[in-house]
């Protein structure tokens, strides 16, 4: 639990202005971690040491699954002379998530530095930065930053005279939610249709173009220079114990000051809503909260007392941290409409590869539309819950789960509101 968050000094986001120019970034101590690592690559910072440092820092992926980043890196097989890649996932298509965007805009070199260190650690030859196509301006920011980094000698052949060669490319997505899933991201990078791949083989064995690949979130990689600068012990002590480090909270919805805020993990949800984000707008009361992007289970207002934004606390409360993109809903929110809109999104974005998701998402949307328009019957609610169990865990990727969870948890947690919208099935005798 973080008590002195008011005095927290941001690490990822600059306190003022942007650091898109290399010189500005270097002035704040940027690229120092990279220089240190490459200078000591035979002694302190061997590849194994970098991986271990990130592993012991306890950095957990910021893309939603929350897997230990260092551990993920250690899954890469031994080099066999062929190409190896990092794919940096900036697809950010989960509704309610807009945190990578601020990194692209305000501190792109922090990510570039982290990605170079990561590529060094796992001996990758290239980093592909996958950014959603809607982020046109942010793609431009990234492209300029990468060009600058090449000019400054941080990328390309023989980086800083160390003999390490790393290239970085930006790839623009074409507007599909599914391409944020790691294996369909790889398909999309390869120029194919964004269909998730069957695992195994895992990306570390057969990833991009059949070569070992690690896929990391933009924010996760941006944390790497911080770990190396401050040391894993200090990083691990920051924020929640099992889920340390700074995190970008993307707060949206019915609050007075929506936006991206950087604080350590483990912030109390109430602090974030009522202090950081300035409280619910128009003095309304809180009704519900979606803590980590639209697929994470919704929490009722009476479920969030004492719950903090970290993986374990949220799991206990019955939800997940996801991407820490919090959507705050005030008391006027029509929860049926809200859920309908979410199911519409997943119906629209299902890639259509696996049967349960392809057909199930459409069915969920149709049922919720029926309830929304007042044509629903009580049995439809049970059917919806039944469908979520039919879909969950039966597909290649987690999109079916992501579509099923909000339905299941919103209906179970707000069943009275759904029942009130359904047609009456029991009538009193006159």
């Amino acid at each position: 639990m973080v008590n002195d968050y008011q005095n927290y000094k941001t690490l990822i986001l600059p306190s003022k202005g942007h650091l898109r120019n290399v010189s500005d970034y270097e002035a704040t101590g940027g690229y120092k971690a990279l220089k240190d690592v490459l200078a000591a690559k035979e002694s302190t910072w061997t590849r194994e040491n970098v991986i271990n440092e990130v592993k012991t820092a306890g950095l957990r992926g910021r893309g939603g699954a929350g897997f230990n980043t260092g551990l993920k890196w250690s899954f890469m097989p031994k080099p066999d002379g062929g190409k190896r890649y990092i794919a940096a996932n900036g697809d950010e298509s989960e509704p309610g998530t807009f945190k990578d965007r601020v990194i692209f805009e305000f501190n792109p070199h922090l990510f570039i530095e982290g990605a170079i260190i990561g590529a060094y650690a796992i001996q990758a030859d290239a980093v592909y930065v996958y950014i959603r196509g809607e982020y046109r301006s942010w793609i431009n920011f990234m492209e300029k930053a990468i060009t600058d980094a090449y000019k400054a000698g941080y990328l390309g052949k023989n980086i800083l005279g160390s003999g390490v060669n790393i290239d970085m490319y930006v790839h623009s997505g074409a507007g599909a939610y599914i391409c944020g899933e790691e294996s369909s991201l790889m398909e999309s990078l390869e120029g194919k249709r964004g269909y998730p791949r069957v695992k195994p083989p895992f990306p570390a064995q057969r990833g991009l173009w059949g070569r070992p690949t690690t896929i990391n979130n933009i924010e996760s990689l941006s944390n790497v220079p911080l770990i190396l600068t401050m040391g894993s012990a200090k990083y691990a002590a920051m924020g929640a114990k099992t889920h340390p480090g700074p995190v970008l909270y993307g707060i949206s919805g019915h609050v007075n000051r929506p936006g991206v805020y950087e604080y350590p993990t483990g912030m109390l949800i109430t602090d974030l809503i009522y202090d950081v984000a300035g409280g619910i707008r128009n003095g309304k009361k809180l009704k519900a909260l979606v803590p980590g992007g639209s697929s994470t289970p919704i929490l009722r207002a009476d479920q969030i007392d004492g719950v903090s934004m970290d993986a374990d606390s949220l799991r206990t409360a019955g939800s997940m941290i996801g991407t820490a993109g919090m959507a705050i809903l005030d008391e006027d929110t029509d929860i049926v409409d809200f859920l309908y809109r979410i199911t519409h999104f997943y119906h629209h974005e299902s890639c259509g590869q696996c049967t349960p998701c392809r057909e199930g998402t459409g069915w969920l949307e149709k049922l919720l539309h029926k309830i929304k328009t007042g044509e629903g019957e009580l049995r439809d609610l049970d059917l919806l819950l039944d469908l979520t169990t039919q879909m969950e865990g039966r597909t290649i990727c987690a999109l079916a789960d992501a579509a099923a969870w909000p339905v299941r948890h919103t209906i179970t947690r707000f069943r009275d509101e759904f029942e009130a919208r359904c047609k009456k099935s029991v009538f009193a005798f006159a």
Binding site: V198, C351, R358, G362, R394
Partner: protein, 577 residues
């Protein structure tokens, strides 16, 4: 040997593989749609979900953990796994619908989902009767659907290419067709378009699906989404009977099935033979049914005042005998054909050799560069090697014309020399041409006497493909002189057995008045003082096997059981008589 336990039954396996394929190999049943043994595994239909558990391995003791009774402790995966993509491992425990309610529920659920947007138009769907979706829904599906909304509408009747029509609404997105064009025919002409429940396969804008193997996607399609343009709405599968045969449109000897109703071949589909064609066949072979049905010669014909008129079999035999008797054997030239079977060529050659005519040959039909290295060969004819093996002289086009010039009487077995451009009508001026043929070709029209013979769809006969593999056909169509219910090798479909002669699909119009070559020659034999008696191609082949060393030991039974017999090259050399 590693073992795997499926539904409490213990099996051992010797080579690694996928669980679904192993289950199918054991003759057990498990529903699936997207899996195909010759294609990659996308695991997208989610129909083959099973419960899978593996024994817990203890690295410390380097052995499997056991409970107090000494049984291996098995840990099940929390989710259901797709058996098609799951590799077998030693001690793996698999539970299918037979033992797991979870699995049978999942199968019901998946089928309910698949049927959600599938138009239930089975009564007018060509696939009905041989539709995996239909069969599996009856076996494993839910009793009804809980879906009460309008189905998603997608394009119908899209002509994907010259031969394939798509009904996108029926498509269940198994991607078999897309994978076929990527992995087998390698033309990459198909892809899935749109997203979610609006998905369907199509070609890139402006391109058509004109792959030389495009019709295999129709066989692969587990529903009626892809149909063959010229078979659409022609027949229900249960009205036809299915007879194994060989593709005669090139030298590969692709194994096929002929689908016959009312003695018309309605479609040709590939028959699995791992040694020749796997599951596939080229499109031209499917169009060969035109040869069997159309433009057939029925009853002998004789030329009177430059007009071909039908005549009786007796007259035809008498005329033929008179022509042979009236000419010295030296001026009679006998031309066999690589388009005819081993038996036909052998009977032809032997009969005329017995009559003293030793000028027998054939002209191979090889167009170099027309093959593709897969199932289409440069050799246009199905039996070039067979003709060589039985000792017909292989002629070049040039030597053929000199032989034609020298001859006064030319007896041709089913070789369209005019159509192929080997000779012109003027070359045949003043010569007597006797044509044994199946179809009314240009050469047949130039003949003085036409003897109709049965085609591959009407008799059992064997063909030697370019790789030296001898394979045989079975009679699929009745002629005037065969009877489906009496012939031991003819298949009878449901309606053949249970229909009546008043059924409107049944007539005698399509029975050709023709004999097999050997049968006709046997009838002719007494007239020319010969003693041959080949009433049956099986006996004829036994005679061939005895007299020609290359065929030594080969019988029809062996061809059937071994999916074709490879003729040893050494024997081939020993043979050349």
């Amino acid at each position: 040997m590693p073992e795997i336990i499926i539904d409490n039954q213990r099996f051992t396996y010797d080579k690694p593989g996928k669980v679904l394929q192993f289950i199918l190999d054991q003759g057990l049943d498990l529903p699936f749609f997207c899996y195909h043994p010759s294609l990659s595994i996308p695991a997208n239909c989610r129909q083959c979900l099973v419960e899978i558990g593996t024994p817990v391995f203890d690295r410390a003791t380097n052995s499997f953990k056991v409970d107090e009774n000494g049984n291996k402790i098995v840990q099940f995966f929390p989710k259901l796994m797709t058996s098609c993509s799951q590799d077998m491992s030693d001690g793996m425990v698999v539970k299918t619908h037979a033992t797991s309610d979870k699995v049978s529920r999942a199968q019901k659920d998946t089928l309910e989902f698949i049927l959600l947007n599938h138009p239930l138009d089975c009564p007018i769907c060509d696939q009905a009767g041989e539709c995996p979706l239909q069969i599996q829904t009856y076996k494993y599906g839910p009793e009804g659907s809980r879906f009460e909304f309008k189905k998603v509408h997608k394009p119908k009747r899209i002509q994907l290419g010259p031969r394939v029509v798509l009904d996108a609404e029926r498509c269940i997105n198994c991607t078999r067709c897309v994978r076929f064009s990527e992995e087998i025919s390698k033309t990459n002409q198909l892809t899935i378009t749109a997203r979610g429940d609006k998905n369907y396969p199509t070609t890139a804008p402006g391109s058509t699906f004109d792959d030389a193997y495009s019709l295999n996607t129709v066989d692969l399609c587990p529903v009626g989404a892809l149909t063959q343009s010229d078979f659409r709405f022609k027949a229900r599968v249960w009205e036809m009977n299915q007879t194994p045969s060989i593709d005669i449109t090139n030298g590969k000897g692709t194994n096929v099935d002929l689908w016959v109703r009312d003695n018309l071949v309605l479609r040709v589909t590939p028959r699995f033979n791992p040694n020749v064609n796997d599951y596939w066949m080229p499109d031209p072979g499917r169009e060969a049914y035109h040869l069997f049905n159309e433009n057939r010669i029925s009853r002998p014909e004789i030329k009177l005042d430059s007009e071909l008129i039908k005549t009786s079999w007796n007259n035809a035999k008498e005329t033929l005998a008179e022509i042979v008797e009236a000419h010295s054997p030296k001026v009679v030239f006998v031309l066999g054909s690589a388009y005819a079977s081993v038996e036909e060529n052998f009977a032809f050659k032997t009969f005329f050799a017995n009559a003293g005519i030793s000028n027998s040959a054939f002209v191979p039909h090889v167009i170099s560069g027309s093959g593709d290295g897969f199932l289409i060969t440069d050799d246009q004819a199905p039996n070039t090697k067979g003709c060589e093996l039985i000792g017909l002289e292989s002629l070049s086009e040039k030597s053929l014309s000199s032989l034609i010039n020298k001859a006064k009487v030319i007896v041709i077995l089913n070789e369209d020399i005019i159509g192929r451009g080997l000779a012109s009508i003027s070359d045949l001026d003043g010569k007597t041409l006797i044509y044994f043929g199946t179809n009314k070709t240009e050469t047949a029209k130039a003949a003085q006497l036409i003897i109709p013979v049965t085609c591959i769809a009407e008799h059992a006969a064997s063909y030697v493909n370019t790789e030296g593999r001898i394979q045989r056909s079975m009679p699929a169509k009745e002629t005037m002189y065969t009877n489906r219910s009496l012939h031991p090798e003819m298949n009878a479909g449901r309606l053949d057995r249970f229909g009546t002669k008043f059924d409107n699909w049944r007539s005698d119009n399509n029975r050709v008045d023709a004999y097999p070559v050997w049968e006709f020659l046997s009838q002719l034999a007494p007239r020319l003082n010969q003693s041959v008696n080949w009433s049956d191609s099986s006996n004829l082949f036994d005679e061939i096997a005895l007299s020609i060393p290359a065929f030594d030991g080969i019988t029809y039974d062996r061809m059937d059981l071994e999916k074709g017999v490879v003729i040893q090259p050494a024997e081939t050399e020993a043979k050349t008589i």
